[in-house]
Structure formats: C-alpha cells, structure tokens
C-alpha cells in the first residue's frame, strides 16, 4: 500500500489539476503537493470563501512518484486536518483524480459527494472513498480535490497539510525488494524501427512475388518512400530467469556489465553511464521476426543475431531499456524498474554467434552534437568594416555630401546607413535612400542636427545576403535577439527575409566585445547561441533541447526547485557562443561554474540537475548506513583533489577570443585560504584556476560565492566512500545524500564518525547495489528559515529539525548537539 503525505510545497501541478469538472483553476488558494516521502507540511493553508460560493483545496503527487502501471482498486483513506474552524463552511465533495505527467485529467478514480461535513471544530476528518482500478502510465499522478462551500456571511478556513493519505495501490517493488530471499531478473528491450505497413497493401506499393516480401524494416524495404516508421520492441532476458507466461522474452543474456553514471562536482556533468549486454545466439525459427514467414519458400538460414543485424543496421541512437526487477508469482511488472539508454553499438556476431550490445546514456547526444549548430551560409559579397569613411564635404537637413573618394556610382550606398562618428551631429545615424555618384550626395531622413564639413562619418551595410539563409533563425519567429558571427565579429540581426539578414543600426555590429571587421565573399556566416539574462537552468534546458532532447526527458520541476533554492538572479547568464562547440563542453562549464551537476538518470529517464549543497529541508529523510546494513565498505582519501586557493577569470573581453587564456577576460576574483596554506596546516599552496565563458560583470556576487564555497568544500581532503548494500536498503538516487557511519572512518578518539556523503554513482547489480559517494561538509547543520508555527527545538520532529533553531550562547542546542550554521 502506498501512503502519501500532504506537504506545504506547490511544485507538482499547482492549480491546473482536477477531474469530474472539479479543478483548482479558478478559486483555489490551496494547491499543495502530497508525496511518498513522509515529510508533512507545517504551514497552514487558509482559504476564504464568500457566501454562497465554493472553493477548492487539492493535493497532487509528483509525476512518477507512484511509478506503477496497475493501480489496484480499493479504499482510499483521505484525511484533512482543520486547524482554523468556520461555522458556515462545509466540506461538500472529494474527488480522486488520475492525471498525466502534464497534469491533464485522465480519469476519476473515485469520489464522494453530498458530504455537508461540519467544520466548526478543529481536528482531523477522515473519509474512506472507494477507488477503481486504473491502467496508468508510470508517470501518472494522483490528485485529491476537496470542494468546500460557504453559507452567509462567508468565512475562512485553516487547513494544515500534514496528514497521510492511504491508497490501495500496492508498493509491490518495495515489498519484493525488502523480502529477505528474493529472485532477480534483468530484461533488455530494444526499440527499433519497424514499418507499420503490410507488404503490397496501400500505402505500400511494393509488388514482389509471394516469398520475396521485405522484413518490414527499412533496410529491406521495397517501397522506401512509403516506409511508415513505427517501433518494434525486441525483448531479451537473463538465461534461466523466471519470465512471464505468454510474453516472448528471449533468454539470451549471458551477462550485463554496467559502468554506472558517476557525477563529478569537478566536471559539472556525470561520467556517462554505460552498459554492455552480452547475448548468446540461437538458431531459432524466424517465425516471430519475419512477418511473412509463412510465404517463404524455404526457412531463413543462419541464426538470430546475424539476421537481426542484417535487417536492422540503423540501430544506433535508438532507445533501449534495461528492466531490473524481482519476479513474483503471479508475475507483476510493477516490481521492475526501468533504466533508459540509447544504443551505442553492437559488436559481433562473434565466432560463437554471440553479440555485445553497448548502451550509453543520452548525454552522449551532447558529446556528438555542437552548439550552436553549425550553419553553412556564405556571404555572396564582400562585407567591409565600412563601405566608406571620411569627412563630409557638406550637408543639408536631408543630405550629406560624402568625400570625393566615395563611389561615383549612382545608388551605390542605397540601403546602407551613414553614421556620424564625430564633429557636428555626432552619433546620428540615417539610412541612405538615394545616392548620386556624380555629386557624392546621399539623401537621408531629416537630421536632428544638420551635418556639415566638420562631420566625420562611416557608411556601413545594415544587411548581408547569403547564398542560402534557410538554416538561420528568424527573430520574428523565435522572439529572441539573434546573432551571427563572421570571422571574429559578432552581429545582432533583427530581420531575416529570404537570404537577406539585416539590422537597423550599425551599432548592432561588433557585439559581445568583438570588433567590426571586413569580410570577404564566401566567408562563412555562423548562427550564434546567445542567452540574454537567462536563469542557469533555462540555459541548460536550451542546451539540452539544442541536441534534440525534448523537455519530456528533462526534469524541469527539479531544475526549477534548484533554481529557486540555490541560484536566482545573481546567476543569470548573458553570453554568446559564436562558433560551434561540443554541447557537453558547454554544459560541463556552466554546471561547474555554478557549483552544480547535470546527469542523465536512467531510472528517472530524465536529465536531472542539482546544485551541490546541503539537503534542503523537506527534500527527504536522509538514509543512514552503518556496519549493520552495509556488506562492504571502502574509504579512499582524495588528497590529490584538495586545493587552498581558487581563481575565477570571467567576463570575456571578446567572445571570439580564446576562452582558455586568462588575459582574454576582463575580471578575476581570487579566494585564498591562508589558514589552509599555513605551516601548521597543509603548509603548501594548491591553486585552482577557472575561466568562464558564461559569467560576466553582473555575476560578481555569484563568482564570490562560488569561490567561497569551492574552497570551503575542497580545502580539506575529501574521502571517497564505496559501499555495497543489499537491495533491501536501496531507496535513493544519484546526487542524494546519506549518512555514513563505519569503523573505517573514525574521529581522533577512534570513535566512529558520522559523515554526510553525496551519492555520485549507483550500480544495481541485481544481487547487490554498489554505491559510491564523496564525503561532504554538509553534515553540519545549515540554517534554513522555517515557516511560522514551528515548535521549539526540543519538541520538533527530526524533519522539522532540518530547519534552523537558535542555539544557546555556547553554540549548542538544548539537547547538547551542535548549533546551526548559516549559508
């Protein structure tokens, strides 16, 4: 049975969720989360209702929190804790809704109406509501909608979101995992292209004789223009493992070797996870793979893998899943957890027919792709720094007479801008609408200040023509400021029409510290990647999207929480990436310089992001590992990773210069821990130098903070902790924290020391789970400001104690434990 706990947070669906016509979209002030992490809310939800009207309070779970497809029918026990009463407000209806990951209603699971529940006294109300069974997506959500109404004169109600909601949904994976003796199974699924047509039936126009049909794969397609790409899932299991009756899962897996993802705070992204699945061959019949098996005059020769590869040579980049679970009787797929990868390559068949399928995580897309995407447009003409420059001979209110050396060709400068660089009328700019070569007189819109013979000027193009501009973004479509780079110059453009890229002022040239340059015909014009005053997580999302990974595969909610908790406006990014760079290099740099990590979580099947920091209150209960529940432990000190001073060079002078050279940056901040360098401590200097393409002068506070945290984190030697546990205790993810207490890590008195460890890697090997982590400084108590209504420290729960309390004058709490630090 899965139990949910009401919370104060409002990250899951907000007011958008509902069912049976009841939602929180209009009147709601009480949209809250509820989730499986047992961390109850503490702040009251107060709703006001006018006489004769209704209002709604709702609780919604996170997408994927249930993570089961078969939701059992049964009784939902729903509770509501009334802390501020009303004599005129009653609870009328409760709805249990199933919504998809986007909070769109899918079904009403159960409801009760006509309650007229009196709320004039405080206390918890409990309702048992029958819910129907549901066939859900793994990412579906539950939502609980409470509908209140008020009589005259209306009033307010206070609800404390601290109650549990019991569901009939059976947590079968947890039950299986926590069973002492359990069976394990691993299943590989490959999603490969498959034609949705039937041979020779419209739209397929192939017309070969019976027995010569294709195999419904592109490689053998006889009517490629009408190939209709769908997906066929091929499934393979461990040899000997129990498999579900009636499902074709070929027991060909002889081994699965995994190199799990490993996040590295020094790099910003994780080492890519990798799995090598070795599968044996089988001289099986072709009946399940060949749709036209029955018409073949002779059975297919060869064995399984040879035929498989011949028919599916385009496997690279397709999705693959490793499903790890605990088979039970009757079979229950809900005991399985899926890890999502992409197919990297298939090695073999070897002499014995076996193959090895190499799977990698989708961060590989970022290794293969470049940002900005290379664009191939070329200038169709020379494009100079200026088309003419000099001192005007004279001017009128609507003309300027250029120097004698200017072009003698009529209309030569039409459409270009003349910019007054000095003298009378300085800094005025006008577009030339007519030019008479014989007189050198250019006609412009009326000057604010009429130019004269003291005025110096530049005549410049405000548009360029490419041989093909179809690859470039149109600002009118994207709504963004768009930039191109030519040579070492960056130009902002404002319009794209056909093959013409244009801008309205000469000041759009030479952006991001670059200078105007002359460019020759056939020079390449490159679209730039330019975030302007964007949150870090928005830039990261844009970078991931740019390698063709959709938002569905990004933990946008988690990113938003990290952005709110730890980053904010001082980390807003404005920069220009003028030429193509490996996408993963940019992601790594941005994460590293914002003290965060990004990784692909095969289990969540999303890119996840976390700022390296203490566990925020309410995140989760920190698991604890001791010598009683660990099978193996290794602790290695990482002396080589320590440093005492850190430098950050940032704010590039010109974005087209080499970012690896410090002298191309305008700003630098250093943080030196002189205590750490003193003779009584480490007695040495260890320097860390960083250059950032993303941070500028508006990020000064962020850079200072980053350096401070970096030294605090790294001045002392960290330890790398490797532990092995039984699946029984496995209930967390990479980048979570756990407390580690073992006789392998003791204090000066030889007593076991509890340290908080950042999980950097998890390797689920079926029978055992290997976990790697880094010791952190987060074992100290960091102060987070709690909401109103919290009890004193002595009465607080362990979860509440994650917030700050004031210590005594000795820096200790009432129970003698250490006081809280403030970050």
């Amino acid at each position: 049975m899965i139990t949910l706990t009401q919370k104060n947070s409002n990250n899951n669906c907000g007011v958008t969720v509902g069912c049976s016509g009841r939602s929180l979209t209009t009147l709601a002030t009480g949209a809250n989360d509820c989730d499986t992490d047992s961390i109850a809310g503490s702040s009251n939800t107060v709703i006001g209702i006018l006489s004769g009207e209704t209002n709604v309070v709702g609780y919604t779970i996170s997408s994927g929190a249930i993570n089961y497809t078969s939701w059992e029918s049964g009784t939902y026990t729903v509770r509501l804790n009334i802390v501020n009463t009303s004599t005129v407000i009653t609870l009328e209806e409760i709805y249990i809704c199933r919504a998809d990951k986007d909070c769109i209603s899918q079904a009403t699971v159960g409801s009760t109406t006509g309650l007229a529940e009196d709320l004039s006294t405080t206390g918890t109300r409990t309702f048992n509501i029958t819910g129907s069974s549901q066939t859900a997506e793994l990412t579906d959500r539950l939502a609980f909608i409470f509908v209140f109404s008020a009589g005259a004169p209306g009033g307010a109600l206070g609800i404390k979101p601290d109650q549990d909601i019991d569901t009939p949904i059976i947590d079968s994976r947890r039950i299986a995992r926590e069973t002492y003796g359990k069976t394990t199974a691993q299943i590989l699924e490959l999603d490969l292209d498959f034609c949705g047509n039937t041979y020779s039936i419209s739209p397929c126009t192939a017309s070969g004789a019976s027995g010569t049909e294709c195999y419904n794969c592109f490689e053998t397609c006889q009517d490629k223009p009408n190939f209709t790409r769908t997906t066929k899932t091929y499934r393979f299991g461990n040899r000997g493992s129990i498999m579900p009756q009636g499902e074709i899962i070929r027991p060909y897996i002889s081994s699965i070797k995994t190199a799990p993802l490993k996040i590295d705070p020094d790099k910003g992204t994780a080492a890519r996870s990798k799995a090598i699945v070795k599968l044996v061959d089988d001289n099986t019949l072709d009946v399940n793979e060949d749709p036209y098996y029955s018409t073949r005059p002779t059975p297919a020769s060869g064995a399984y893998w040879g035929r498989f590869i011949a028919r599916n040579p385009n496997y690279a980049g397709r999705w693959a899943r490793i499903r790890k679970g605990y088979p039970v009787d009757p079979w229950d797929w809900d005991t399985f957890q899926d890890e999502l990868y992409i197919i990297e390559s298939i090695k073999g068949p070897a002499t014995d027919g076996s193959v090895s399928i190499i799977l990698k995580d989708p961060l590989k897309f970022a290794d293969r792709r470049q940002i900005p995407t290379p664009t191939s447009g070329k200038l169709t003409h020379d494009f100079n720094t200026t088309e003419d420059t000099g001192t005007a001979q004279s001017g009128t209110s609507t003309t300027i007479k250029l120097r004698n050396e200017a072009s003698a060709v009529d209309d030569f400068y039409n459409g270009m801008n003349v910019y007054i660089t000095g003298g009378t009328g300085k800094d005025q700019e006008r577009t030339i609408t007519d030019y008479v070569g014989a007189t050198r007189v250019a006609t412009v819109a009326t000057w604010d200040v009429t130019v004269d013979s003291t005025s110096t000027y530049d005549v410049e193009r405000i548009s360029i023509t490419l041989d093909d501009a179809s690859e470039y973004s149109d600002p009118a479509t994207t709504g963004n400021q768009e930039y191109i780079s030519i040579g070492k110059e960056v130009i902002e453009y404002e319009s794209l029409s056909g093959n013409v890229i244009s801008w309205t002022t000469v000041l759009k040239r030479g952006q991001f510290g670059t200078s105007r340059e002359s460019h020759k015909e056939d020079y390449n014009v490159q679209q730039c990647f330019v975030p302007i005053n964007q949150p870090v997580t928005t830039v990261l999302t844009d970078l991931i999207n740019a390698v063709d990974v959709a938002d569905d595969y990004i933990d946008l909610t988690g990113m938003s929480i990290e952005e709110t908790n730890w980053l904010g406006p001082q980390y807003y990014i404005t920069t220009c990436i003028p030429k193509p760079v490996k996408a993963s290099e940019l992601i790594e740099e941005l994460c590293l310089h914002t003290n965060s990590v990004l990784w692909w979580s095969p289990i969540s099947q999303k890119f996840k992001y976390k700022v390296i920091g203490p566990s925020a209150p309410g995140d989760r209960i920190i698991p604890s590992f001791t010598d009683d529940n660990m099978v193996k432990v290794t602790v290695n000190r990482r002396d080589e990773k320590r440093f005492t001073r850190s430098f950050m060079y940032y704010d590039m002078d010109s974005v087209t210069e080499d970012h690896k050279k410090p002298f191309n940056f305008l700003r630098a901040i250093a943080y030196i821990d002189t205590d750490a360098e003193s003779v009584n401590e480490y007695n040495e200097v260890r320097q860390d130098t960083n250059n950032s393409r993303f941070l500028t002068d508006v990020n000064d506070v962020a850079v200072n903070s980053w350096l401070n945290r970096r030294i605090a984190y790294r001045r002392d030697t960290q330890s790398e902790v490797k532990i092995t546990i039984d699946p029984y205790s496995f209930n967390f993810d990479v980048a979570d924290l756990f407390d580690f207490n073992s006789n392998t890590l003791v204090d000066e008195a030889g007593e076991n020391k509890t340290v908080r460890v950042l999980v950097t890697s998890i390797n689920d090997m079926g029978g055992q789970i290997e976990i790697e982590g880094l010791t952190t400084i987060f074992g100290n108590r960091y102060g987070f400001i709690a909401a109103n209504g919290y009890p004193d420290h002595g009465l607080a729960t362990e979860i509440q104690k994650q917030y700050a309390f004031i210590s005594n004058a000795s820096g200790l709490m009432g129970d003698g434990t250490d006081g809280y630090l403030i970050i």
Partner: protein
C-alpha cells in the same frame, strides 16, 4: 518403476494450421521446444492441425509452459484419417489441475496421418511447447548417484560487515546432472540412440523424464553439454553417459 525417457520426436513438427491466432503470436512457436515463445488462439474452441503425409504414431503428449489451469482450459489430442472430415478420434484429453509442465504416456501407441490439438474452455491460454509422438525410452535404469531434484541456485548471499544476514538474491536455479545408463546394448546405441542424436538431440533442447510413473512432474527441459560417451562393457553392452543442463523449474 518406469524407464527413463527422452521426448523430442514430434508429429506437430510439420506445417501447422491453426483455427485462429491472437495478434502477436505464431502457431509455429509450439514446436520449437523453446519455453519463451508462445502460441495463443484468437478464440476457443481452438485447434492446431498437422498433415504428416502418412500415418505416424504417438505414444505421448507433452505440454510445457502453459496456463491451462489458470485459464480453465482443456487440451485434447485427436487423430484422423481424413483431415477430420468424418474421422475424428479423441486420443487423449487432459484438464490440468495446475500450470505445471506435464507429459502423458499412452498405454499403446496409435497412428494417424492427421493429428490435431484442440483447446476448449472459456479463456484462451498461452502455450509454449506442445509435442506428441513416439518417446525414446532408454533400455536401462539410471545408475546410482543420479539426483532428480538437486539444484544449484545462482545466488548472492548478503551479510553485513558485522556478520548478520541481511538479504539473499537468487537469479535462477540450475539443474545439472551427469546421466549414466549402464549396460545398454550396442544394437540400441547404434540403431536408436545415434540416429536420435543426429536428428535432434545434439543441437536441440528436449525433455527428459526420469520416472513417469511415480514422479510425473519431474520432467526437465534440457540440453546436452558436450557430447555423449558409450564406453564398451563386456559382451554386447555399453554404458551411455552424457551431461545435461537446464533450469530447475
């Protein structure tokens, strides 16, 4: 006590005609001796019919990997001389009381040109292997040392650093035996065993039944690991030795 038996010869190894097949299933899956490929009819009553060209004999029916009991279904083996036009003879009918694999040996063999499997009931079952034909009976009893139920779990036994047991995870249980049949005749080895070896046993899975009368549920889907040995014994005798392996189910 019955003699050890090998099941591989199958009258349903020819061109099969199913009354109807559910989407995603193929009828030929019942004859491949692979427990992970299935046939499922589209409706009941369902039949699978085969024409062997001439009359062929059956003295057993094997069903391996099924949910007949769960689905409340009955399986019948029927024979015919005219493709079930006028001739339709019920040879065997079985309504399993569980979903365990089973084999039924007939008291006498019976021969027909057309053979049919018929499934009746209300809910359509899935079936992995159906085989009927002439069994291969070993003319010798197993030598001492044979272990019909021994098994080796592929297991990870987890104990804490303090020594306490905290969990045990099994991948599967392996069934592995070295079979020794003492004193079979050279005539049987040459005329019966060797042809069976070449026809099927050397490179295909088969079912081994060590004692059908007393332990009918102890049948194993196995393959031979390596080859076989037939060391000569005094007179016209030899010992047949082979190593088998499979999954203990």
């Amino acid at each position: 006590m019955s003699q050890p038996t090998i099941i591989y010869q199958n009258v349903f190894d020819g061109t099969l005609t199913a009354s109807g097949t559910a989407t995603g299933f193929v009828v030929d899956n019942i004859k491949d001796f692979r427990p992970f490929t299935y046939w499922k009819a589209d409706a009941l009553t369902a039949t699978i019919t085969v024409d062997n060209g001439t009359a062929v004999s059956c003295d057993y029916l094997l069903v391996y990997g099924h949910d007949l009991n769960t689905q409340g279904a009955t399986i019948e083996l029927r024979g015919s001389t005219d493709n079930f036009s006028a001739s339709d003879v019920l040879v065997k009918t079985i309504t399993p009381t569980n979903d365990d694999n089973f084999a039924e040996f007939f008291t006498a063999s019976t021969a027909y040109r057309y053979w049919r499997i018929q499934i009746t009931g209300t809910t359509v079952p899935t079936l992995a292997i159906i085989s009927a034909g002439l069994k291969l009976t070993i003319p010798s009893y197993l030598d001492e040392g044979f272990d019909p139920i021994g098994r080796t779990p592929m297991v990870k036994n987890n104990r804490s650093r303090n020594g306490h047991p905290i969990g045990k995870v099994i991948q599967f249980q392996e069934y592995e035996q070295t079979l020794k049949f003492p004193l079979v005749t050279w005539t049987w080895v040459r005329d019966t065993w060797a042809p069976a070896w070449e026809a099927w046993l050397k490179d295909n899975p088969f079912v081994f039944v060590w004692e059908i009368d007393t332990y009918s549920s102890e049948l194993r889907l196995i393959t031979i690991d390596g080859g076989f040995k037939t060391p000569h014994k005094a007179g016209q005798w030899a010992d047949l030795q082979l190593k088998i392996e499979g999954v203990y189910e």
